[in-house]
């Protein structure tokens, strides 16, 4: 491997990793606050991609506006899902919450995937690019889209961090993730926080789908690969660990681009999954796991 190949791999890994981190934060949030192992997270990625496709390619809006619309739509989709499904499940179900919620998301994933298939057909709805330009990074020409997507990921992650740490609502979300009953005692409205968390988590996935539209076209099953990758990140970071998800995302991005280069498409998936199994086997609480025993066991 020459220096330039390594450089190339590292840069693509980094760009990929930023978006994995973005999606994984959504997953970690939903998990940490609501104890939902979100199996349908990839479908909100697809919702974002579809929304951005229609906003940009069909209605001809400005790319940034298209991505914002996609964020809004996936936010709303998340809110509707939470109110329509998880809220009644929380109120009615007496069984083990974590498992029931997990099964529910599995059903939801199937419903949404088939829904896309029926609504938009099996074709790939993609665009060639948002911005017709390239950017020079370390002497390499990289499509502006990828750099902007990475930038969007960084901005969203920073925004999330500020939201969670600097605003009252964000602090309330963190309080609920640390101790639900305690949070309720100090007067936090649990229902509202849970709806908000789920919507924000879905929005992060939607932003990911929208900003990567030129690389991964919208497709009924376009959420599956990002879902696996973001689960990978979350497993590395430890379930529910938001900060760890950022580092984990970059790591997974690098790992995938290197293993893709060395092993090719098919075996790359195998390698990721085997690594994931080994991680779960030896470090069930993740590399940066806090070791706190939580409700989701």
């Amino acid at each position: 491997m020459s220096i330039s190949t390594i450089q190339n791999l590292l840069v693509t890994g980094l760009l990929r990793g930023g978006l994995y981190a973005l999606m994984a934060i959504g997953l970690a949030l939903v998990f940490g606050v609501m104890n939902i192992c979100h199996f349908a997270h990839g479908e909100y990625y697809a919702i974002g991609a579809y929304a951005a496709y229609f906003a940009f390619a069909v209605w001809g809006l400005n790319p940034i506006l298209a991505i914002l619309i996609a964020a809004l739509i996936s936010f709303l989709a998340g809110a509707i899902t939470e109110k329509a499904l998880f809220y009644p499940l929380r109120k009615l179900s007496k069984g083990p919450w974590v498992m029931n919620a997990f099964l529910l998301t599995a059903g939801l994933s199937t419903v949404l995937q088939s829904g896309f298939q029926l609504g938009f057909g099996m074709q790939y709805l993609g665009i060639t690019q948002y911005w017709n330009a390239t950017v020079k990074v370390f002497g390499m020409n990289i499509a502006a889209d990828r750099v902007v997507a990475f930038g969007i990921a960084l901005v969203s992650i920073a925004g999330m961090w500020l939201f969670l740490h600097r605003t009252r609502t964000g602090r309330a979300i963190r309080a609920v993730s640390q101790d639900e009953r305690g949070a309720q005692l100090v007067g936090i409205d649990l229902d509202w926080i849970q709806t908000l968390t789920f919507s924000v988590g879905s929005m992060l996935a939607g932003i990911g789908g929208a900003s990567l539209l030129s690389l991964n076209p919208a497709y009924p099953f376009s959420g599956s690969a990002p879902l696996i990758s973001s689960w990978f990140v979350v497993t590395i970071a430890g379930l529910g660990n938001v900060e760890g998800a950022i580092v984990g995302g970059l790591l997974v991005g690098m790992f995938e681009s290197v293993s893709y280069f060395l092993l090719g498409q098919g075996w790359q998936t195998v390698a990721s999954l085997v690594l994931l199994i080994l991680l779960l086997l030896f470090k069930p609480s993740g590399l940066f796991g806090t070791g706190i025993k939580s409700v989701w066991e």
């Binding site: 192992c37 499904l85 009644p88 499940l89 009615l92 179900s93 007496k94 069984g95 083990p96 974590v98 498992m99 029931n100 997990f102 099964l103 529910l104 599995a106 059903g107 939801l108 994933s109 199937t110 419903v111 995937q113 088939s114 829904g115 298939q117 029926l118 696996i228 689960w231 497993t235 098919g266 075996w267 998936t269 195998v270 999954l273 085997v274 994931l276 199994i277 779960l280 086997l281 069930p284 989701w296 066991e297």
Partner: protein
């Protein structure tokens, strides 16, 4: 409300005796009647299409039953279930393609290999609990699917392997009888296991892991027994199905396949074993007979899973128990 009758020593009643005998095997007269109807059906129905539908319903129903053996009793939802079914299918297909082994022995081989992989997966989950176990099985299932796609030299990748039928002159009717027999035998075996001390341990682990452990049940041992058994059965049925449909592709190992089985099993009612079989016979013929419904199949499965989870977790099995209790109480008997 009722007069107290003097206690009489009941005469040995052949029907009661038969009922008691059937009860230990987990069978009941209404269920046997259903089996009998299915068994004599091929005499009246000659349409191959309809018969294939019943074979398919039996296939999915049996898988849902096997799924329930783990999901409903030790409360561990195997998300990689289709991976194990597909592994069995691939092993059976490759044995009949690359060796001259008798296909029936090939099925045993598929069962053993899948059971072994299930055992190893069980070992992987020894240190894990709750949701992590499901995640691990999901990852294992996906790895199996990725392997089936990537090992092009052995599995021919996405193009799949063409599998010869079990024997040259096999008809759909024989498939129907073989699967019906397999379903009955598997059901009786699984039921006897559930009723035994081992099954008691399964349910103890499923209901409360910590309490079960504290009262001397070794969760690791029983988890491994249960998981290897259900994977072996899944492999056996998968291997048979490979011979029935004649082609195995990596699609068979896909998550959507697990979803179908899982939905049927939960619609049937978790912990009821037979519920999944009835759910399969309710859903699959309806989907297939209405062409337009076929496209919505997964939506309906997903939606019914969601609705069942939210509103009626007991499923068909729970409904049957309720109906039985209701009928008994309206007859003035104590619900048994």
């Amino acid at each position: 409300m009722q007069d107290v009758k003097p206690v009489q020593v009941p005469r040995p009643n052949p029907i009661a005796w038969l009922n008691a005998g059937l009860h230990t095997l987990g069978l009941s007269l209404p269920f046997l009647a259903c089996v009998l109807i299915l068994a004599i059906l091929p005499i009246f129905v000659h349409e191959e299409y309809l018969l294939r539908l019943f074979v398919q319903s039996l296939y999915f129903g049996t898988l849902a039953m096997i799924f329930d053996f783990t999901g409903g009793f030790i409360n561990f939802v195997n998300f990689g279930f289709a991976g194990f079914v597909g592994l069995g299918a691939y092993i059976a297909a490759m044995l009949s393609l690359y060796t001259t082994l008798n296909p029936w022995l090939g099925l045993i081989g598929a069962m053993l290999v899948t059971g072994l992989v299930g055992f190893l997966t069980g070992l992987l989950t020894v240190r894990l609990r709750g949701i992590y176990v499901s995640l691990m099985s999901w990852f294992v299932g996906m790895t199996l699917e990725a392997l089936a796609t990537a090992m092009i030299k052995v599995t021919r990748g996405a193009r799949g392997i063409i599998v010869p039928p079990m024997y040259a002159s096999i008809t759909v009717v024989s498939h129907l009888y073989i699967l019906l027999g397999a379903m009955l035998i598997l059901y009786v075996i699984l039921h006897l296991i559930i009723r035994s001390k081992v099954g008691l341990a399964f349910r103890a682990i499923g209901q409360n892991y910590e309490v079960a452990r504290a009262s001397g049940v070794n969760p690791v041992k029983y988890k491994l027994i249960n998981f290897s058994l259900s994977c072996a059965c899944a492999g056996l049925i998968g291997g048979y199905y490979a011979h029935f449909i004649g082609i195995v592709t990596p699609e068979l190992l896909d998550m959507s396949h697990t979803m179908e089985v899982m939905a049927l099993s939960f619609i049937g009612g978790s912990g009821s074993l037979l519920g999944g079989v009835f759910a399969a016979f309710l859903f699959i013929p309806v989907f297939n007979s209405l062409e337009s419904l076929m496209n919505y199949r997964l939506v309906i499965y997903g939606l019914s899973l969601i609705l069942i989870m939210i509103f009626y977790p007991a499923g068909l099995g729970g409904f049957y128990q309720w109906l039985k209790a209701f009928l008994n109480s309206s007859k003035g008997k104590k619900p048994s």
